[in-house]
Symmetry: C2
Subunit: 216 residues, 2 copies
DNA sequence: CTATAGCGATCGATCGACCGATAGATGGAC
DNA sequence: GTCCATCTATCGGTCGATCGATCGCTATAG
């Protein structure tokens, strides 16, 4: 029975959400399968109708987390020419996902080490492919003279880490809206990259590049 | 016996180092006490001559990690007047420690959740006190018109997270020296904070603020 | 319309392995 | 002789995982 319950959540989905919450809160090793079953509202024996092993469950969440960044990230890169446009959209994607799907992002970022070698290798490959999108955008922007950073690789790591942190403190009823947070991270990113302010509409003043991001 | 062995490392120190390595690599919950004893070169029974419980061991490392940031951080704040000088020295401290003591930093940053409530509260208080040093410097700098950020709290989190990431990839025989890395992170920090380039000696050109940090 | 065979979902009970922690015996240093 | 360090052996509990039985639903044969 129960293809779906009154609330519209199937047991399989409840299992996945339960595991996600617990893995994000206590970590993979710190979470027992009995806790997962409890959180999902079923017994231990029933849990194993939905999962292969505990690690299968983690692996599925991991893939979901990484695919949710890599696939849209690739679309952005294909669709956007300028390095500046690319990095802006990559930051927006990264921050939004780390806020809206913060639990999945935490698990994706922190639990790679809990995978056994074969699966860990695949997860690392996905992560590396995603990071390469950022590095390429920053590298291109630097070569074109649009970005000015002390080192491309360091800037890549710095920006990725900075944007990932959102997952650990974001709350949907916090002081700032997600839009405001995203906008702020885009501004900080462009500032870190040493981008001249967009010469679109504003009166940039004679010297240019003044007080970007100040909130008077 | 063995107040110290030929290599100058006491058993107590070997135990602590073993736990540190394993906690950083596999996490607190993912590390068994038998692994710690093995890594320290003693048996399980002997291990308990040096530790109270497994959590005592984590707590000691935790305190060490946080004190190593908070105490020097407070000295910096007391000794340095300008927000800019403070943030530069805080970044240097944070990056150096996260590189040189990367394992301790990883444990300190990631394993707060593994502490039981009473100890966790104390650890969180230390972390908050440390973060407050950063926030105050950034806040002061913004109020004085020296920094220009979209939001003080967001900039604080962004910078702390960005600098903490160093612990996960730093290697003493990597491409860049620790000095170079530290210098780059200071530059990226000042850029993110929207600091005008230091008006000390250089020919800043008519427009000022050009290509800071570029390595031509 | 009814009887029943099949099937997916769930259950309680249990497996061997490993967990953190303790006890008691042994040995060497001073 | 005392004391600290270390050992071996073992404790009760929890871990991840599996088992066979049962439940309720559905499809179909008569």
């Amino acid at each position: 029975m129960a293809t779906h319950d009154p609330a519209g959540t199937s047991t399989a989905e409840r299992v996945e959400q339960a595991a996600l919450r617990l893995f994000a809160l206590r970590g993979f090793e710190g979470t027992g399968i009995r806790s997962i079953a409890d959180e999902a509202g079923i017994t231990l024996g029933s849990l194993y109708h939905y999962i292969g092993t505990k690690e299968d469950l983690l692996d599925r969440l991991m893939q979901k987390s990484m695919r949710g960044l890599l696939d849209p990230g690739r679309e952005i890169v294909e669709a956007t020419e300028s390095p500046r446009g690319r990095i802006v959209k990559l930051v927006e994607l990264h921050v939004r996902r780390h806020a809206e799907d913060n639990l999945l992002s935490i698990v994706g970022d922190a639990e790679i080490r809990s995978l056994t070698p074969a699966r860990r290798r695949k997860a690392v490959a996905l992560r590396d492919a995603y990071e390469a999108l950022w590095e390429e955008a920053i590298s291109d922007g630097s070569r074109q003279g649009d970005f000015h950073v002390p080192d491309v690789k360091l800037a890549t790591f710095a920006l990725l880490e900075m944007c990932s942190g959102v997952a650990y403190w974001y709350s949907s009823n916090g002081r700032l809206s997600l839009d405001a947070i995203t906008k702020a991270f885009v501004e900080m990113t462009l500032s870190l990259l040493g981008v001249e302010p967009l010469a679109s509409k504003p009166d940039a003043g004679p010297g240019g590049r003044l007080r970007r991001g100040a909130h008077p």
